[in-house]
Amino acid sequence: MTASTAPPSAPLLAIRGLSKAFLGVQALDGVDFTLRHGEIHALLGENGAGKSTLIKTLTGVYQRDGGTVALEGREIAPRGVEEAQRLHIGTVYQEVNLLPNLSVAENLFLGRQPMRWGLVDRGAMRRRARAVLQPYGLSVDVTAPLGRFSVATQQIIAIARAVDMSAKVLILDEPTASLDAQEVAVLFKVMRTLRSRGIGIVFVTHFLDQVYEVCDSITVLRNGRLVGERRTADLPRLDLVAMMLGRELEAAAHRIDLGPAELDSRPPLASFKGFGKARSVEPFDLDIRPGEVVALAGLLGSGRTETVRLVFGMDRADKGEATVDGRPARLRGPRDAVRLGFGFCPEDRKKEGIVGELSVRENIILALQARQGWLKPIPRRRQEEIADRFIRLLDIRTPDAERPIQLLSGGNQQKALLARWLATEPRLLILDEPTRGIDVGAHAEIIRLIERLCADGMALLVVSSELEEIVAYSRRVVVLRDRRHVAELRGGEVSVERIVAAIASETPNPIASETPNIEVRQ
């Protein structure tokens, strides 16, 4: 099933001894990596292991400190993305790096627009854009600005762009982080087609299932060093995890088993009646009790994110009412929510989560400080204590707490955000795609942490595309479709099959048409 073209003697891509250091961090230390024609090659490692750095150094975003890269036997040293693209290397970087202000079509063809008579042929560009997106089952209005679409849609568009450009090498850095099962399946189909054409694919992910589903070989990094390269078939899962972590994974967390009766008897912490917003989510009822984990499941664009944004006051509901502790609550903005003891890790961490240039410490204490008000500053010593505690607790990989958070790897930023809210000891924590980009080790730890907190009475509202994850820790699942809450599964009913069934009923072609919404999130 691999390469149909005659395999040339040299590997497609040969990286030898690649090194890259940042201020105080050796992000890559003499790493070797080999990509063959017609191969899907997983690049794995913990958060901060250096995967993204490898990719950026390879494609000329960063200038390397040492080492060589050969493409089909010829040495290359691209000095920028543009040059890498000319060498037929297409890349999807970790954070979706598209331009929200340009239309979908413009994003797809930026720098290589179809031309006619010296001018951009916009008609042809639109037609070709639709064609490029077609294999992904995405029929969006290609003239609408990209920023109007959800993160997932943007990610698919980024993938489509890279695929369309990479005649030789395709690099995907955590492309599946916010995709759901169906979309992942579509992506894999595309990847397999490319592989059969002899294209080499580098694939970074934290989902081991996906690795075993499509990858031919695996390279593992740890702390900027190469741990080893294996054929997927020769590497059992447990060994892979051990390779990544440098230790055995502790026994999987087991779910808390509070009987439904016990939980239901508790008075709800927060309850929402007829809560909704025009053009956003249909009015819904939702009760959240202390100690329970409520999950929202649904397809891309089904309104999960909108629901949790309403609950946190990020968007203002125009219908219905909220009650907290039995008293009517005002939810006119995140500040109200924070005062009520809510916390919220948003889906788009770069845009709405981190405060990039502030240090890890400041990012962690920000919400706590905001709740206390500006007049009561948290003493520096205490800030450091809090930061250090969570850095240890969540295993945030950073040289020290004073490092600007934007210099951390993606997964570690996510952990710092989680720390921001945990530091406020919230009563209700809302997580939108919480484990996005988090490695297996940390994933397990976070789930353990969440369960401990729930045992202490914290309630959790989670949006996740990982149905297994949902099933693993939630006792109640609300299923959304077309921005409507359509079903609720409780206790024993919670299973992947039931969720899928609820999502799928009456939905002919789930991701076929995501229409851009008029609304713009502020």
Binding site: G80, L102, E106, L110, G111, Q113, V120, T143, V520
Partner: protein, 328 residues
């Protein structure tokens, strides 16, 4: 609402504001609703419009260019010195002026990119330098008496119904049309929007950041130079203090025209309308003629405020809710 209409909404709103403003003026003053006033609006604001087009590009790319007014002033002086004192023919003088202005802009773009310095500061220094060079050439105001100037000034396109488009007005219209094409039908235009949308992402998508930055400031300089030529035609003189404060006027026009100062969103046509709105405010005040210096300033401020509110208000009404891209 369809996507297209929604995207052009700011533009539609701005134009509506212009039309409503014109109707109000016409209702208030006799002689206002005349082709002469319309022609004046175009001719008098030609240099501003041309400069503002360049500024629109710079702002779209996420930058700003404070040097344009000074470049206009310098260009007029350079032309006057070359033609009157150096005995040059205006045409080669125009060429030299355009090259100098464009080169100056490109140099600023180079500094901005290579040294990663904020455009605000680099172009502010550019403004000092351009004014300073003007002073060094001559502090006097120098009349330009070349016959070609007279001929160019008499050139105009006359329409039967009474509209007379002078050369400056035609130049401005031409620049606007060319700019629309440049912005929306060339790769350079797309790169500009990309750069303004998010510099980092643009770079990761392979946009040639260096080249685009240098080119956009070069273009702005070039257009400021062209505006300088128009200005020197308009006044028939060179003067180192000419066009002071034009940078703020152009920025205002660009923003009234619906372009975001943060870059990435906006239209050249909007800027053109913005320039006309500003011209309309001035014409209104002149027609009224009763305002003292200070009331003039207050009135300009208040009208600016009203226009901006009107724009925001209409956007909210028509789009249902703030149709602007979220600021971040």
């Amino acid at each position: 609402m369809t996507g297209a209409l929604q995207r052009f909404l700011p533009l539609v709103v701005t134009t509506a504001v212009l039309v409503v403003g014109f109707l109000i003026c016409a209702a208030q003053f006799p002689n206002f609703a005349s082709w002469r006033v319309v022609a004046n609006l175009l001719t008098d604001n030609a240099f501003l419009g041309i400069t503002a087009v360049g500024m629109t590009f710079v702002i779209l790319s996420g930058g700003i260019d404070l040097s344009v007014g000074a470049v206009i002033g310098f260009t007029t002086v350079l032309l006057a010195v070359l033609i009157e004192q150096g005995g040059w023919h205006p045409v080669p003088a125009f060429a030299v002026a355009l090259i100098a202005a464009g080169g100056f802009g490109a140099a600023m773009g180079g500094v901005i990119h290579v040294f990663q310095m904020p455009p605000f500061i680099v172009t502010l220094a550019g403004m000092f330098i351009a004014r300073g060079l003007g002073f060094v050439l001559t502090t006097d105001s120098v009349p330009i008496n070349h016959p070609l100037y007279g001929e160019l000034n008499d050139m105009a396109l006359r329409f039967d119904f009474g509209l007379k488009l002078t050369l400056p007005a035609l130049l401005m219209l031409g620049v606007v049309v060319a700019a629309v094409v440049l912005a929306h039908w060339t790769r350079f235009g797309a790169n500009l929007y990309a750069l303004g949308g998010n510099r980092q992402s643009a770079e990761l998508m392979g946009v040639p950041v260096a080249r685009t930055t240098v080119a956009v400031y070069g273009l702005s300089g070039l257009l400021a130079g062209l505006a300088g030529i128009v200005f020197s035609l308009y006044t028939g003189a060179g003067y180192s203090l000419a066009a002071t404060g034009v940078e703020l006027d152009t920025i205002t026009a660009v923003v009234i025209g619906g372009t975001q100062l943060t870059g990435g969103y906006g239209y050249v046509v909007g800027t053109f309308v913005g320039v006309l709105i500003q011209g309309l405010i001035q014409t209104y005040i002149t027609f009224d003629g009763s305002l003292s210096s200070w009331w003039t300033k207050i009135a300009i401020g208040v009208l600016l405020f009203v226009f901006i509110l009107l724009q925001k208000g209409l956007l909210v009404v028509w789009a249902g809710r703030g149709g602007e891209p979220a600021e971040a």
